[in-house]
């Protein structure tokens, strides 16, 4: 019985980690900054490729993952400076620009690196409970997801940067008038967002097949999670992920993956219909 219970928790943790890790970066870039980043999946891919590349050069996995995260963040800041900066006033156009970027990046990766990359294998081994065996690494992923949530909360709620960043997102002109260097705030926020995308790729790299279009598998889930989370990203994304993970896990277990996928999308439609402002609108109201 306890094996069944743990199995339930494990499945939930697995889907939850996937949703949080893939959505965290987007929550900042899209949720807070309003940039529709169609290249989100490509930053994930970047994190994964850098990780695998470094591991193949002999760098230990955790260090490779940290370096990959930083790389994605730095590339993100460069992209922000060159491209995204121009689109803060017209967010819908950022969709076209970043989509163009994602086409360029995926196809260039294919041309430069080739279509197939050798995997690196999952670390940490496995453990058994009852009749089941589990991969330890999946629990590491869950731990990372929780750590990412905590980290985001601390950065944006407890630090001076976070206060200024939130002020800038709410009213850039006012923040600027009060002396905030809004350009730099945007740049750093975007960098944090893409670094988190890179982290997602770095963490999932050992468990997945690496191809240049791998980012696409994360994109729908992450957009959906962020959107139903609603306007208050820090409060919304986590409950959205919990909610979607429960639905998905229950349907996956009972009816198979296809129903899990369709059911999750149906849930999204219904949630938005009932709460057109997203989950966080309810939480914020309750909180008051």
């Amino acid at each position: 019985m306890s094996a069944e219970l743990f199995s339930l928790f494990y499945q939930f943790a697995d889907v939850f980690a996937f949703l949080i890790l893939s959505a965290a970066g987007l929550a900042i870039v899209f949720g807070m900054m309003g940039v529709i980043n169609m290249a989100h999946g490509e930053f994930i891919m970047c994190g994964a490729y850098v990780t695998v590349g470094l591991v193949n050069l002999g760098v230990p996995l955790p260090i490779a993952q940290i370096l990959a995260t930083l790389t994605a963040g730095i590339i993100g800041m460069i992209v922000e400076y060159l491209i995204v900066r121009r689109f803060y006033k017209r967010p819908l156009d950022s969709l076209l620009a970043t989509w163009g970027l994602s086409l360029i990046v995926t196809q260039s990766m294919l041309l430069i690196v080739g279509s197939a990359v050798r995997g690196i294998g999952t670390p940490e081994g496995s453990f058994a409970i009852g009749g089941y065996t589990f991969s330890t690494y999946r629990l590491v992923l869950f731990g990372c997801a929780v750590a990412v949530l905590a980290g985001l909360y601390i950065i944006f709620m407890k630090t001076r940067f976070g206060v200024i960043a939130r002020a800038t997102m709410q009213n850039a002109a006012m923040a600027k008038a009060l002396g905030a260097r809004t350009g730099r705030i945007y740049s750093i926020s975007f960098g944090i967002g893409t670094a988190l995308a890179g982290l997602c790729g770095a963490l999932y790299a050992p468990t997945m097949t690496l191809i240049p279009t791998m980012g696409a598998t994360f994109v729908v889930e992450s957009f959906v999670t962020v959107v139903i989370g609603g306007a208050n990203v820090l409060l919304g994304t986590a409950p959205a992920a919990v909610f979607l993970a429960m639905i998905r896990m229950a349907l996956n277990a009972g009816y198979g993956q296809i129903i899990g996928q369709i059911g999750m999308l149906f849930a999204v439609i219904l949630i938005i219909r009932v709460l057109p402002e997203g989950l966080s609108s309810v939480l914020v109201r309750r909180g008051r």
């Binding site: 017209r90 076209l96 990046v105 041309l111 729908v220 296809i258 439609i269 219909r273 057109p276």
Partner: protein, 357 residues
């Protein structure tokens, strides 16, 4: 009624514009006389997709509703045409199948639109709901490979796609090649002119007013929801028209015409062309479809990179869209010359400037 052809909501007016329009139309009409039959068929194929782009232009550019669901209705009508054409038998019945399938898509749009618009869903939420519905349809159709999934003798046939329907036929004459081309030209002209009249009519003005500020429009006494629903149904119906024509053209449709990345394509065409204007969308979508195909034929693996560069360059250099950007350059150059001649600037130049918001 035809007075409404020109108005504040559409670019291009007066004699110069309409003579250009007629010249292009005449060129299009005589094109098959001297062109290779393959190229004529290929152009007809590009025109099939334009309806979907015009529909999205109406919803997004004029109505302010970013729908990710164009391929949802494309798919409903595309599969609808297949099922109907197979069940009703070929021949002239295919015309009825075409019309019925578009009607089905519009009914579906009415239901989904009512659900969303009366639920107060707007902005990016509108996009996500339509995208979710689209993906659900694509996933669902993808797993219908088994023989138990059939409607009459028409098998849905899962990911491999449905086939075996007749192309559009009158009597025993298949509408293909240049016949299809002329049919497409006729339909495009009808739809284009009708949409111009619509957006310049009082209904169109309310649609635009709703885009600009729904509360204000509501305060002025309009039930904006009805206007939004009307826009959504027309725009989605046009996507359905594209879908039914596409199935008829290739006698084949698969779920991958519905899911991602197909669902993003109409948005790319319209955003590239300039979503604020019907003419820009018409011209731009055609150029983009033609350009993408040409790039793919001649540049092999670099094709996707070039397409990405093209899109990126367009949004960075011509924020209003490719066609409007070029149009603006031309108009600026024109008006500068006029100004030198101390003549009044073209009316269009003023409109372009005021449209920047």
């Amino acid at each position: 009624m035809f007075k409404l052809l020109d108005g504040p909501q559409t670019l291009g007016r007066g004699k110069i514009f309409w003579s250009c329009f007629l010249a292009v139309l005449a060129g299009a009409l005589i094109y098959p006389l001297f062109a290779d039959s393959y190229d004529v068929g290929n152009f007809a194929y590009f025109l099939i997709w334009i309806f979907m782009a015009l529909g999205l232009c109406l919803m997004w550019g004029y109505g302010g509703m970013l729908s990710f669901g164009q391929t949802f209705f494309f798919g409903i009508a595309g599969y609808g045409y297949g099922v109907l054409a197979i069940n009703m038998g070929g021949g002239t019945a295919t015309i009825a199948a075409l019309i019925l399938s578009v009607v089905i898509a519009m009914i579906a749009a009415g239901i989904l639109g009512y659900f969303m618009i009366w639920g107060g869903i707007s902005g990016i939420f509108f996009g996500i709901v339509t995208l979710s519905a689209t993906l659900v349809l694509a996933f669902f159709l993808g797993q219908t490979a088994g023989p138990e999934w059939h409607i009459g003798p028409a098998r849905l046939n899962g990911f491999n796609g449905m086939k075996g329907m007749d192309p559009l036929t009158v009597g025993s004459f298949d509408i293909e090649g240049s016949a299809l081309y002329y049919l497409m030209i006729a339909l495009i002209v009808i739809v284009y002119v009708a949409l111009r009249i619509l957006v310049n009519s009082s209904v169109g003005n309310v649609i635009v007013a709703t885009r600009e500020n729904p509360q204000r429009a509501e305060m002025l006494g309009y039930d904006v929801r009805k206007y939004q629903l009307l826009t959504f149904v027309i725009g989605s119906g046009l996507a359905g028209l594209s879908g039914a024509l596409y199935t008829s053209w290739g006698q084949f449709i698969t779920p991958s015409s519905i899911g991602l990345p197909a669902a993003a394509m109409p948005i790319v065409w319209v955003a590239f062309s300039g979503r604020n204007d019907l003419t820009a969308t018409l011209v731009g979508s055609f150029l983009l479809l033609f350009g993408f195909q040409t790039i793919t034929v001649y540049s092999q693996q670099a094709a996707l990179v070039l397409m990405g560069v093209l899109l990126l360059a367009t949004v960075m250099l011509a924020p209003q869209g490719f066609v409007l950007g070029i149009g603006r350059l031309v108009v600026d150059w024109w008006s500068r010359r006029r100004r030198r001649d101390e003549a009044p600037a073209l009316a269009d130049a003023g409109r372009l400037q005021s449209d920047e918001t």
